[in-house]
C-alpha cells in the first residue's frame, strides 16, 4: 500500500472530525417509524441509500469532479458543487452536507497545500459555491495522485461506514453486527463503483422518493439524536 492511499484513509477515518457522525441522512426517520429496526432491515436501507441515491449524487459527482480536475477545468467543479447542493431538496440533509464539506475543506486545506482547495475556499467565501465533501475528497485524491476509481471507492466507503456507526448507536446494533454489515457490504461498494463508471450526465441527481421524503420528514421528528 502506498503512503498516498494511507493519506486518503485519514479522511475516511471516523476520528477525522468533519461532523459526519451527527447526520443520519433520513435513517433516523426510518428508525423512529420502526421500518429499520435490526441488522437485516438496516442492510436493506443501506443498499437503497447507496444504489439509489448516493451513486447518482455524491458518487457520480466524485467521478465528474475528478475528471474535471484532470482537465484542469475548475469551472466544471464549481458547477458540480452547485448542482449537488440544489438537487438536495431536503433542507437538513443539504445544510448538513454543506457543513461537513466546509469542515473537511478547512481541515484538508490546513494539511495540504493544494491550490484547488484554497480556490474552493475562495469560491465559498465569495458565495459562488456551497461546499461539498465529495468535491473536497476528489480534490485531495486528485492531488495525492490516487486513481479515479479508488477515489470513488474510498469516498463511498467512508459515507457507508459513518452510516453503519450511526445505526450501531441508534437502532441500536451490537458492535459485531456493525462490523458484519460493513464486511458484507464491501461487494455492494465495489459494485456501486463499477456502476458509477458506466453512468452518464443524464443520470445525475436521480432520487429515490422514499429516501428523500424521509430526509425531509426528519425536520419534523420530535426527539432526535442526529441533525439530519
Amino acid at each position: 500500500m502506498t503512503s498516498k492511499i494511507l493519506s486518503l484513509f485519514q479522511l475516511c477515518d471516523s476520528n477525522f472530525p468533519t461532523g459526519a457522525f451527527s447526520h443520519s441522512f433520513g435513517l433516523e426517520s426510518y428508525i423512529q417509524e420502526d421500518k429499520v429496526h435490526d441488522q437485516e432491515s438496516f442492510f436493506e436501507w443501506l443498499k437503497v441509500y447507496l444504489h439509489e441515491q448516493l451513486i447518482y449524487s455524491d458518487g457520480l459527482a466524485c467521478r465528474f469532479a475528478f475528471e474535471a480536475l484532470l482537465e484542469d477545468d475548475l469551472h466544471k467543479v464549481w458547477e458540480l458543487d452547485r448542482l449537488l447542493t440544489v438537487q438536495n431538496l431536503p433542507r437538513e440533509t443539504r445544510e448538513g452536507t454543506q457543513m461537513i464539506g466546509k469542515r473537511m475543506l478547512q481541515l484538508t486545506d490546513s494539511l495540504y497545500e493544494m491550490p484547488t482547495l484554497s480556490k474552493y475556499k475562495e469560491e465559498i467565501k465569495k458565495k459562488n459555491s456551497f461546499g461539498h465533501p465529495t468535491i473536497v475528497f476528489s480534490m485531495v485524491a486528485h492531488g495525492l495522485e490516487v486513481t479515479k476509481s479508488e477515489a470513488i471507492q474510498y469516498y463511498l466507503y467512508s459515507a457507508i461506514s459513518s452510516q453503519v456507526q450511526n445505526a450501531v448507536r441508534a437502532i441500536p446494533l451490537g458492535q459485531t453486527a456493525g462490523q458484519t454489515i460493513s464486511h458484507k457490504f464491501i461487494p455492494e461498494i465495489t459494485g456501486a463503483v463499477d456502476r458509477i463508471m458506466q453512468l452518464t450526465e443524464d443520470d445525475f441527481g436521480i432520487v429515490s422518493p422514499g429516501i428523500e421524503l424521509s430526509q425531509m420528514n426528519h425536520e419534523r421528528v420530535n426527539i432526535r439524536i442526529f441533525m439530519s
Partner: protein
C-alpha cells in the same frame, strides 16, 4: 426544428390589470384553448391539450412560455397526459418557462399515466428573475396495463431545473424504471402507488408558510406520507406518497389555496375539466 410532434409557444403580458397573450402559436399535436378569466383578478387561465389523445412512440413535444412583469397566469391541461407503449423511441416533452420580475405563473397539469412498456422523458426548464413567482405540481400514477398490473411502464423520467437570476437554484430528477427497481419497497414508494410533487419559488417563502401547509396537510385523514422542505433558494418543495390521484389533488388544492391567498391575495377557482 421540424422534428417536433407538437410545438406551442405562448408569451404573456399585463395590459391595464389584465393578463393577455401578445403571442400565441401552436402547431401539430399541441394546442392551447381560448383564455379563460375565472374572476376579475386579471389572472388568465390557459388549458393546454394534446388533440391526439396521448403520446406515442417517438413523439416529441416542445412548449415555450413566457410572462412579463405583472402577468399572472395559470396553466393546466384538459386531461391526464397518457403515454402509450414506445417500442422504438421514448416520448419526450420539453417545457421552457421564462418569468420576469413581478410575474406569477402556476403550472398545474393533470396526472401522468404511462401505459405498459411506455418510456417517457420530461424536461422542465424555468428561468426566473428574483421577484417572480413560480408554482408547479405533478402527479405520477402507477400507470395502466390491460391486465391491471401496476408499474408496467418501462421508464418515466422527470427533470425540473429552476434557474434564478441566471444561476441554477433547484434541480429535481425522478427516474423510475420498475423492471430494475423494487418500486413498491422501502426507500422507493414505501408501499404506495402515487407520487405527487409540488415546487414553489418565491421571495415570499417563510417558515410560517411551511408550518401552515404542513398543519393543513395533516388534517387529511386518508393514508399517505408527506415531506416538505425549503429549497436552497427562496422556495420549497413537497413530496407526497399516496394511493390515489384524488387524494394528492385534494392536498395540493388546499396548499394551492393557501399559497395563492398569501402570495397573490387571490382565492383560486377550481380548475373544472370537461
Amino acid at each position: 426544428m421540424t422534428d417536433w410532434t407538437g410545438v406551442l409557444s405562448l408569451d404573456l403580458e399585463e395590459r391595464r390589470g389584465k393578463t393577455v397573450a401578445k403571442n400565441v402559436y401552436f402547431q401539430g399535436a399541441l394546442k392551447v384553448m381560448r383564455p379563460i378569466y375565472h374572476d376579475n383578478s386579471g389572472q388568465v387561465c390557459y388549458y393546454l391539450l394534446n388533440p391526439g389523445g396521448g403520446y406515442l412512440d417517438g413523439d416529441r413535444y416542445k412548449m415555450e412560455i413566457s410572462a412579463n412583469e405583472g402577468a399572472k397566469v395559470t396553466l393546466t391541461t384538459q386531461s391526464a397526459t397518457k403515454v402509450y407503449k414506445t417500442p422504438k423511441s421514448f416520448a419526450y416533452q420539453e417545457t421552457t418557462i421564462s418569468l420576469k420580475r413581478g410575474s406569477y405563473l402556476e403550472y398545474l397539469p393533470d396526472p401522468l399515466i404511462a401505459y405498459e412498456n411506455a418510456r417517457y422523458k420530461q424536461k422542465n426548464v424555468i428561468h426566473m428573475e428574483s421577484g417572480a413567482t413560480f408554482l408547479y405540481t405533478d402527479i405520477l400514477t402507477p400507470g395502466w396495463s390491460p391486465s391491471g398490473t401496476r408499474f408496467s411502464y418501462d421508464t418515466v423520467q422527470l427533470v425540473t431545473e429552476i434557474h434564478l437570476d441566471g444561476k441554477l437554484g433547484m434541480f429535481d430528477h425522478i427516474k423510475l424504471t420498475p423492471h430494475n427497481q423494487n418500486l413498491s419497497g422501502l426507500g422507493f414508494m414505501e408501499g404506495y402507488t402515487h407520487l405527487g410533487s409540488m415546487v414553489a419559488v418565491s421571495e415570499n417563502t417563510d417558515n410560517a408558510l411551511l408550518d401552515e401547509l404542513y398543519e393543513t396537510i395533516q388534517i387529511e385523514e386518508a393514508d399517505f406520507k408527506v415531506g416538505i422542505s425549503r429549497l436552497a433558494v427562496p422556495g420549497f418543495s413537497i413530496r407526497i406518497l399516496a394511493n390515489s390521484t384524488q387524494l394528492i389533488e385534494r392536498i395540493f388544492n388546499s396548499c394551492h389555496k393557501i399559497i395563492s391567498e398569501k402570495w397573490t391575495n387571490h382565492t383560486p377557482n377550481s380548475l373544472r375539466k370537461y
